[in-house]
Amino acid sequence: MTPVSIELESRPTGLAPGTAAADLAATDLAGLRRLVDSAGDVAVERALAGGRGGPRPLADFAALLSPAAAGRLEEMARRAHETTVRRFGRTIHLFAPLYLSNECVSTCDYCGFSAGNQIARRTLSPDEVLAEALELRSRGLRHLLLVAGEHARIVSKDYLVECVQVLAPHVPSIAVEVQVWDTETYRRLVGAGCDGLVVYQETYDRGTYARVHRKGKKRNYDWRLGAPDRGAAAGMRRLGIGALLGLHHDWRLEALGLAAHAQALVRRWWRCEVSLSLPRLRPAAGGFEPADPVGDADFVQLLCALRLLLPDVGISLSTRESPALRDALVRLGVTQMSAGSHTEPGGYAEPSEADPQFEISDTRSPAEVAGVLRAAGYDPVWKDWERT
């Protein structure tokens, strides 16, 4: 077996200055969390009245996460809807995840691909990846998100670059959601035709992060947090971040971390389009159960608050959520949705024996989802990028 290079094993901790990661580390999340608890009607009113149309301060966001704000949910929703329509129109961008491999050497409690789980593992060859992409293309999809577990030897830099190269002539927009890499590797991916980088911090709470990431390079919190900055420096045009709701018991603290991170990325990387995602934990192999699942009403409040804080940031919704909830959320700030998803490698062109990352809740095809969007008065957007 080829030994994994030492450079990948020992990543620096600490955060580079002038990055969104460093900005986030300097943010007093605990203080903001206390504001959530102390926020009354006056603070909520002030937060809703808002500023001059640009992003609002995190203190206002904290007020909008409060129980006091929960009593004004319909009003928050209306403002979030108006803000989204003004900025994005009545459009939803559709994309599909394309799982390249479910091999993984990291042990993460919440993920079906975790190294300890006895699941059927599979890695697609670049030809198989292309076949999957062409199948998705035939279903209308032009924007793909390449996903893989963390295995530096099997899902190597070279393999990823080759996959992007193979797809680039056929797929107008390619993003990757894989293990975090250094700036040079991101540059290679950009050069091959990749325009988006998605890295979920999973949880912004360092204690919880250490607890659920038991083994593997993913344990390095700082290195992961700095990945969107490295991707932006390398030329990625789109940055996607996210937190797995339910990992940490306090969803409001998680929300503050995610919001502050998004705001910092917008501020540091002005040429990039930033989007965020709030997947709620689903049943997966390994049987992880969230201690405090986030309820629907809280989820909606969070979504609206994020939209009001960050009028220009995309909000992505996966097929983890039920059809009914997804349809309702279309009008509440979501701007991107996956559709017809398979989270096992090779699930599109023909049924695959590999095991999925998590159970899908919305199994509707892209065509069905597009139909629902149109019926709701929204335009499904399949293509919004051209590689030059």
């Binding site: 002030r46 009245a49 001059r52 640009g54 949910l73 319909e74 209306r78 909606v300 909830l325």
Partner: protein
């Protein structure tokens, strides 16, 4: 309560900067500088005559006030760069207000020449404060090449029309990673306060003070206005209210 402005590592207690043109006399200028409390003034290098007995620089106490040489009169990057190098050679501070204004009527800054000159001068170690139109993307580009601030105009030099570029200024304030100094067109203390309230880090005022009946008194008025505007911002200005109205049930599905 300390609220210093930090530009290129240097602390300023005053957020009012002064231009020195159009004053009726050096004495009037000195008096206005005193009552304004300013810690930085700009002087056009073309006005400076180090060989003369009396010179505009006499009004400026270098112990208390930083001299910001400006390149006004330059019509292209080359001229601005040479002026900056002349200032350095003459022993003046290496802080440069970059002003490239090929149009003598409106004195509007040339964005292309300004960016070119900024890149060269920042590379040569100058502390560059560029005067530009209120163009948010240009301001980001200038910040990227290393400028210490950006200085977007409120309205044309000498027009006293206030913040006609307010919408763009708001974007610049929101996006900038360096201090934002609103420069040009501020004609009244209320306009200076307005600039501070929208989040500008400082203002630069020249015509309104230099051409006032009593420049020193006007300088004091501006000083108070800048302090008031800044204090109001820090105290947490209330947002503009909007009507609340319940209409279609966006969240009824949760019931």
């Amino acid at each position: 309560m300390q609220d210093p402005l930090i530009i290129a590592g240097r602390h300023f207690q005053s957020r009012l900067f002064l231009g020195t043109g159009k004053f009726p006399s050096t004495a009037a200028l000195a008096s206005a500088i005193e009552s304004s409390g300013t810690e930085m003034v700009t002087v056009a290098l073309r006005r400076v005559d180090l060989s003369a007995e009396e010179d505009i620089l006499d009004a400026i106490d270098p112990e208390r006030v930083l001299l910001l040489t400006n390149t006004s009169g330059a019509v292209d990057a080359g001229e601005a760069i040479r002026l900056a190098r002349l200032a350095r050679a003459a022993g003046l501070p290496e802080w440069i207000k970059l002003e490239v204004t090929p149009d003598p009527r409106y004195l509007l800054p040339d964005p292309v020449e300004t960016l070119r000159a900024a890149e060269v001068l920042c590379g040569e170690g100058f502390t560059v404060l560029p005067y530009v139109n209120a163009d948010p993307v240009l301001c980001k580009r200038l910040q990227e090449v290393g400028c210490a601030t950006v200085m977007p105009l409120g309205s044309w030099i000498g027009s006293n029309q206030g913040l006609r570029t307010k919408a763009a200024l708001e974007i610049i304030v929101e996006q900038s990673l360096v201090p934002v100094v609103v420069d040009a067109g501020i004609g009244a203390p209320s306009q200076a306060a307005e600039a501070m309230e929208l989040g500008a880090d400082a203002v630069l005022v020249n015509t309104a003070i230099g051409t006032a009946g009593d420049p020193a008194a006007m300088a004091l008025a501006f000083r108070l206005a800048v302090e008031a505007g800044r204090a109001g911002l820090r105290a947490g200005l209330a947002g503009v209210g909007r009507e609340a109205a319940a209409s279609s049930p966006l969240t009824g599905f949760l019931a």
